[in-house]
Amino acid sequence: MTLKTILGAATALGLALAAPAFAQDPTKVGFIYVGPVGDHGWSYTHDQGRLAVEAEFGDAVETTYIENVAEGPDAERVITQMALGGADIIFATSFGYGPEMNNVAARFPDIKFEHATGYMQEQPNISLYNARFYEGRAVIGHIAGKMTETNKVGYIASFPIPEVIMGINAAYLAAKAVNPDVEFSIIWAYSWYDPAQEAAAAEALIEQGADIIMQHTDSTAPLTVAQDAGVMGFGQASDMSGFAPDSHLTGIVDVWAPYYIDRVKAVMDGTWEPVNVWHGIDEGMVGFAPFNDKIPAELVAEAEGMIAAIADGSFHPFTGPINRQDGTPWLAEGEVADDGTLLGMDFYVEGITSEIPN
């Protein structure tokens, strides 16, 4: 690059900055990820959403992201730097960013903040959004209940928080409904993303006789273990069939793109309002990877029927009668769980034999 071109570029830049009417300023959109974008799980799907925003709006947006941002002071610094960098809207995609995001939002009232899976909404410029993953869990639970031959389903869980407990319950209830003999073995990985530990958990579960592995962790390791052992499993967050073509039955896919496009559009139009949404299959936030050919056609039809019923509201995965694990009644005949109870779920339903660790 010669001095002349640099000067030329600088002049052009100066002109562009000096004449805002000349071209519309692109809307700046920032994303904060808790993991690497290459995890093929949680952060990867959010980045797919970011790319969809770019594809939708082209030159009218400018997106940026920072990956591997630890919850805590690092997150506050990164979000602040993004705000100072001129972002118009910032998506932060881990629930632990809550306090930091609220702190930053208070300092930058003109910037819009969107917090995935969070619960703190103390500022008027913060939105919360989350997906009803339990709906997807119910569908794969149904498939697992029908497909297991040993009647043992292995479940790799991350942390004992409501989100994860809700998923275990939803999958178990659906499996039990079609297979009264089904048993769930649950191993807690105490991590969202730890391929080595997830693989070890999958091996232990298979050794205990499980022929189906479910995971609420983000790596593809459990599926590759299942593939090698000749048992079946379900993907997590994105379509993981490429990692285990024979074993991958289907998987819950996080689809953030429609929401992200919608919210960025609202910022462009000046119609952005804070929301607190919990979207499911109906709104398209919870999707599914393609069904493996191993699943019999009639079971595919059942699963698709279930997906349709959840989408149109005629079926709710938590419909009574359901008892708690200790036998006390939770939902009466025909009663449907309310969102508040689900979001704070700290108990197993009746029939699960292990205990929630403390």
């Binding site: 920072i66 630890a70 690092d74 730097q81 960098g85 928080i161």
Partner: protein, 361 residues
């Protein structure tokens, strides 16, 4: 045949020049890497090393952040360096840091919501004690049963991490928030909040503690007999024993000092910048401090500079990710290069390659 030969008199000047050379080499090699990734290397280096301090857009926010990020690194590294000087390898500062934070936060949460002037001092004491006791495990196992302190202290980090997760999910979980892990926010509990002493300067008690620790360590290493014992034990263990230095006492002392400082760092972090006991509270300060200690030549003053430099690469690394969309892993490689080049330069200062003819008898 190539043979390594220890230099009889390694250059003193090289020892002090090497860190600067390592930084320069890292800039060159890192720049090449950034260029290979299709990014403007000059802009990237500028964003990492200069913009956090000098940029108009980011500087006024980043400068205080530099203190916040560097203070725990310096505090931990000063303690570790004393042990490293004596040839005592405490690799588990991360664990001592976590336990210090848990003990400090535990005191605060036990008193919540009572307000009182005595709570914060008590938390400081608890944090120091927690780090000290956690460090005593590898120290006593070494002196009593001659276990390897590197292994024991490192493995105890994983125990501490599990304990941290257990606390965030169980005993210390905020009861007011349905089901989410993480303790109450200590920043919203006045008696326990380690706030900026002057608002928006980043100067919290942890920064003050780091300064005091640096001064104490400097005086101790240069003026006090304990410093002499440490240096002697590191350079000539046999001679140290003849001179009456008790290896047992030295191991316990070095681990104790490092444990106290790491515990304090954890406590100041959990009550200030972090605010909460949460599952991933530990962000690797205890391990990064090892790099800081060596980059700072195990010298308290050097450690201050090294801590600030590493803090800078973190903050600048985030800026370059955001502005240039450099991958996060490239920044980690960049930080790794710093240690790599330093070790390589040190190696060539202390050894030389000799070409010899034929096999040695």
């Amino acid at each position: 045949m190539i043979r390594l030969e220890k230099r009889l008199a390694p250059s003193k000047r090289a020892q002090y020049l090497n860190p600067f050379l390592a930084v320069a080499l890292t800039m060159i090699a890192g720049g090449l890497m950034f260029a290979a990734l299709g990014k403007d290397p000059i802009a990237a280096i500028r964003l990492i090393f200069f913009d956090p301090i000098f940029s108009e857009q980011f500087g006024s926010y980043s400068r205080p952040q530099l203190l916040i990020k560097s203070a725990p690194l310096i505090l931990i590294a000063v303690g570790l360096a004393i042990g490293f000087r004596a040839g005592i390898w405490n690799i588990g500062a991360e664990g001592q840091y976590i336990i210090g934070a848990l003990c400090g936060a535990g005191v605060a949460l036990a008193f919540y919501p009572m307000e009182g002037w005595f709570i914060f001092p008590l938390m400081i004491f608890a944090g120091a004690l927690g780090g000290f006791l956690w460090a005593m495990i590898p120290a006593i196992l070494k002196t009593r049963f001659n276990t390897n302190e590197i292994l024991v202290s490192l493995l105890l980090v994983y125990v501490a991490e599990k304990l941290l997760a257990g606390m965030a999910l169980g005993l210390m979980r905020n009861p007011d928030v349905a089901g989410f892990p993480g303790s109450r926010d200590l920043r919203r509990y006045e008696s326990a909040h380690n706030a900026d002493l002057i608002a928006n300067t980043g100067m919290h008690w942890g920064v003050v503690a780091a300064m005091i620790a640096v001064i104490f360590a400097y005086v101790m290493m240069t003026r006090h007999s304990l410093g002499y014992q440490v240096r002697l034990a590191g350079q000539a263990p046999r001679a140290a024993r003849f001179a009456g230095v008790s290896p047992t006492r030295l191991v316990v002392t070095c681990f104790g000092i490092a444990g106290v400082l790491a515990g304090l760092a954890g406590m100041f972090e959990v009550s200030g910048p972090s605010g909460q006991v949460r599952i991933d509270f530990a962000s690797g300060y205890g391990f990064t401090a090892i790099i800081v200690a060596f980059l700072g030549r195990l010298n308290p003053i050097g450690i201050v500079l090294a801590g600030l430099l590493l803090g800078l690469t973190y903050i600048g690394g985030e800026l370059s990710q955001m502005m240039l969309q450099l991958p996060g892993a490239a920044i980690q490689v960049f930080q790794g290069m710093l240690l790599f080049f330093l070790l390589a330069l040190d190696f060539q200062t202390n050894y030389r390659l000799r070409l010899t003819k034929g096999a040695r008898a």
